[in-house]
């Protein structure tokens, strides 16, 4: 009965990154056990049906990971991966596009488009878009002996090679606004891109984050694509393929198995002990080769390991990691009629017959002053929004644009649209109190008013229900979103790439504790967005440490630099799959 189990690898947490890691390692032939606290795997990569026939996305929505090596290496198509390209409503590059502002539509000019195409690598032949994305997200941070500069940082190398006129030292210091001022034209387009970056983690105004911020928008909303592209079966459908890849290669998955402790013996992580209420009870599960924490960095060190094995100075730095700027209030609207955009915002020439009557608005994109007013409210004042809802910036996904055979609502007589999401203070830092945004009636109404600026029929006759979700609730539902933070950890320059989460932890290893690796968006470059990136990047490190020995299917990042004295993750044989 009280049987202890032993595996090569124990992974704590079956969210996107834990599961990607499980899939990669199981495919290497290692025995893998992945432990999940909730009854269901998937973490933030989930889809729910709270009302019969009505599906919503509580967290992740779109497929940001189009450029991931994981598609080829893990062969997700074999496990049923499909896309709903209609939800992406691919709009030809030369179609007229518009941004919404308080004054109505602002046309995206040719200079905007050509500038954007240039900086995202679409103007060369062949385009270097995929290289730029891969260099930014799909490459482990360099080892400490490598000096970081315009010659060594992967995305700089890409520009140097493919678009040399953009390759300047300043590019590394710029904010995304600086970059856009150099190459784009209209203010509303720039504000729109900066805001999408803001809610994707790397803010449009962060110093030295120009390219990561740009890429975090371009990877989901390339200029040729009008809206985020959605997997069939929604974001959880993508997760299913990933999980099944891990299972098909033999990974063992256990749900309702929260981990209480990472067992450290002689400075080495050797296994985990489960919490009393786990399906298995408080049993120990041993790891021959590695324990990989794919849960939030704070509980990993502060609760599962603790001061018995770690210095107080180090623990203090973990405590001090900033969770700021990553909480979103989410609403979905269940309505009797389709939502109608006010005439002022109806896009000329938009093919409503093809894409449905309603596309999710991003509003208002008036000016960077307004953008900063919104940012200051949340991150400066750190208070409940006092900005009038007419001036509050938000984005939205329209459930109506999905393919007819991929309906988001099968409930007769109603339509579902959402989520609409708005940046709000992280509860931990909210000066009005941790539970200050729990008055859902009030905040749902605030969100409705904000959306009503663009949508004309959001009245009480039309609305059946507003399904709202506060950051605090997100934290309860999903403990990986500590403090209700979507990205786990702020994605500013001090907590990104070779600084994520701390310089000594940036290569996914934990100095002083052998056999322990980090694989959560909060603890590992490049962070969140369901990119299959943390698992891929971590593979390089596990190969260096002799833990993973992948087959012919593996190829390393072209920008990867091995740690001195370690085995290289670059296969000695020619790679079977060429990267472009």
């Amino acid at each position: 009965m009280n049987k202890e189990e032993r595996y090569d690898i124990v992974i704590i947490g079956a969210g996107h990154n834990g599961t990607t890691t499980a899939a990669y390692l199981a495919k290497c032939g290692l025995s893998v056990c992945m432990l999940e606290e909730r009854p269901e795997c998937g973490g933030a990569q989930e889809t729910c049906e709270p009302i019969a026939g009505v599906r919503i996305q509580p967290h992740a929505i779109a497929n940001y990971g189009g450029s991931a090596p994981g598609w080829e290496q893990l062969e997700l198509w074999k496990y049923g991966f499909r896309m709903d390209w209609k939800a992406g409503a691919i709009v030809p590059f030369d179609t007229d596009r518009y941004m919404t502002t308080s004054d109505g539509l602002s046309q995206v000019t040719d200079k905007d488009k050509m500038g954007y195409a240039k900086i995202t690598g679409l103007l060369t032949d062949p385009p270097f878009f995929k290289d730029l994305m891969r260099a930014t997200f799909w490459c482990p941070p360099h080892p400490p002996h490598v000096e970081l500069n315009e010659h060594t940082i992967p995305f700089m190398q890409v520009y140097k090679q493919h678009q040399p006129d953009m390759w300047t030292r300043e590019l590394l210091e710029w904010t995304m606004f600086d970059l856009m001022d150099e190459y784009l034209d209209t203010e509303p387009f720039k504000v729109n891109q900066a805001w999408i970056a803001l809610v994707s983690g790397a803010h449009g105004h962060m110093e030295g984050a120009a390219i990561p911020a740009l890429c975090s928008v371009a990877t989901v909303m390339p200029p040729a694509v009008a809206m985020p592209v959605a997997p069939r079966g929604n974001i959880h459908g993508y997760y299913h393929a990933l999980l099944r890849c891990a299972i098909a290669h033999g990974a063992v998955v256990r749900t309702c198995c929260p981990v209480e402790e990472i067992i450290i013996e002689h400075d080495r992580a050797v296994g985990v002990r489960l919490r009393d209420d786990a399906t298995w009870g408080a049993k120990k599960i041993w790891a021959n080769k590695a324990v990989i924490s794919a849960v939030h960095i704070k509980p990993t060190f502060l609760e599962m390991i603790g001061p018995r094995h770690l210095d107080s100075g180090f623990l203090q730095r973990i405590k001090d990691l900033s969770l700021k700027g990553g909480s979103l209030y989410m609403t979905h609207y269940l309505t009797r009629e389709r939502l109608r955009v006010r005439p002022k915002f109806q896009t000329p020439g938009y093919r409503y017959e093809n894409y449905g009557s309603f596309t999710g608005p991003f509003f208002p994109n008036d000016s960077r002053e307004l953008y900063f007013e919104n940012v200051t409210e949340v991150m400066g004042h750190q208070r409940n929004l006092t900005i009038p809802p007419e001036r509050a910036m938000y984005g939205m996904v329209a459930g109506e644009t999905y393919a007819e055979c991929h309906p988001q609502s099968t409930r007769p007589g109603v339509y579902i649209n959402g989520p609409q999401w708005m940046l709000v203070p992280t509860p931990e830092y909210n000066v009005d109190g941790m539970d200050a945004m729990e008055d859902k009636v009030k905040w749902n109404e605030y969100m409705r008013k904000a959306l009503s600026q663009v949508v004309e029929n959001l009245d009480s006759d039309n609305i059946v229900q507003i399904i709202g979700e506060s950051p605090r609730e997100q934290e309860f539902r999903n403990t990986g979103m500590l403090g209700g933070s979507w990205y786990g950890l702020r994605c500013d320059r001090d907590q990104w790439w070779n600084e994520r989460p701390l310089p000594e932890l940036a290569r996914y290893r934990v100095p002083g504790i052998d056999g322990l690796y980090l694989s959560h968006q909060s603890s590992a470059h490049p962070g969140g967005l369901c990119l299959m990136a943390v698992g891929y990047n971590l593979m390089h490190i596990l190969i260096e440490d002799g833990i993973a020995e992948p087959g012919d299917w593996w190829y390393a990042s072209p920008w990867y630099i091995p740690e001195k004295g370690k085995k290289s993750a670059i296969p000695s044989r020619p790679s079977s799959v060429a990267t472009r």
């Binding site: 009965m1 049923g80 539902r477």
Partner: protein
Amino acid sequence: MTTDDYFGHMFQEFPENSEWDAVIIGAGPNGLMAAAYLAKAGLKVALIERRYEIGGGLATEEILYPCYSSNPHVIYHMMVDYMPVIKDFNLDGASLLWIKPNAQTAMVFEDGKSLLLTQMIEDTKDSISKFSFKDAVNFGKVMRSWRRIVDEIVAPATYVPTMTPIEMSMALQKTKVGQEMLELIEQSPLEIINHTFENDRVRALMLYASCMWGLDPRETGIGFFVPLLLDRGMNKCYCYGGSHKFASAMGRELVKAGGLILEHAEVNKIIVQNGRAAGVELAEGRTLRSKVVMSTLDPHTTFLDLVGAQHLDKDFKALIDGWKYDKWSFYTLHVASEEPPRYKCDDPWVNDAFMTIFGIESTEQLLAHWDNVVAGKIGANFGGHATCETLHDPHLSDKPGKHTSFFQMHAPYEIPGGWEKKGKEMEEAILAKWQKVAPNMKRENIIMTVHETPVDIETRFPNMRRGGIKHGDYKPIQLGSFRPNQECSSTRTPVEGLYVCGASTYPGGLVLGGPGYLGANKVAEDLGVKKWWKTTPEMERYIKTYLT
């Protein structure tokens, strides 16, 4: 125009055309079981599901959104002790934890008295003795033989191909237990219960427990269900983490064995070529061709919507047309609360019970309520059963210390004025009734409520047509070798290469684990695949005693 035009080939997707040994429609418990057995036997299997998640009725969903999950459909697992799939795939202990509370079914009355069915016969007798010592003694006496009927005949027969009624009665003549079962078959549930028990409240509990899944209390020919449902009603299990974990575990077995699952994939058509099922076409345009197609859907959907009447002969179509859906459905009120419901009654043990019936004061009232429901009405005399899920499973609440419960009652699919209006009215009526027996179920204690009507059941689970949880009524002409009809009850159908193995096929619904298992056996035999699994000892004994 595709993304390829801009970025090159981004990634590969599941192909437009693919070839399989078996395509199985519907990833409910039966579809999952059939698929897992066959995949492990080496067949190339694809399981197709219309919803975004596998499991069918094995669902655990965040209905009290956000933060509280519920089991909107299956929660009482009655055949865990017998289901071959649990032993064959080792779905006990390591991957799933089955909790069988001793306090199983309570019935509380407005005057504070209560009755309790427990796993243990003696504990149950103690509770019955408060009302009638004679009934307590009789309960012990009948359970002695009823448990044998279940253990030796009904339970193992669930996983063995069905016999015609004549074959069945000849087989049962062979043993004393069989003869006792034959006597029961002739009677109606109401006759059996009235004959066995004298106290009306004891009768009411027994009647509820044996007919709550859809037996007609006054119908003869189904009496053997009374021992089955009473005995199994005393052995209900809860799947720790929620019923969906059972589905996930079977899904993992399927994938581990090389099988494919496609969710959010609606089948438009079963391809029939030269009179033979040859695959399926999906609404999204993809085609999966296969040697056999197994449908777990109801007969109307399988044969009329997906195969098409043009491929059926006239007599067979008439059989399909005659299929009757369940006589009733369920209305469920889900509640998130600060405290679990605390029943004010003479037995503190009631507060640990897995299921608590209230609102029913007499057999007369129960029968009148059920008659109302069958006639399309709900009167003030309704009653139903409640469960506090978090008492057994803290994982269902993301907020520590909070609780989720539900109250469920029989309800008609169609109701005067429509369910949108009636659904809201019922919430108040139910909470008023709940408060009478559990005074703490006041508004202050309640964080959130959500109700699901029979129409919602059909919306959430599109194949539970008319809100029918068993894909078709339990009547003698739709049971045993007549489920769904004599042509199909073996799981084979008149369309070669097409098999039916859902809840509308023998032995039926309620997550018995029968149809999917029998379907897998039949397909393995017909395709000449070696079975890696063996019949359970109970089945072997049954086959040896009655079928040889």
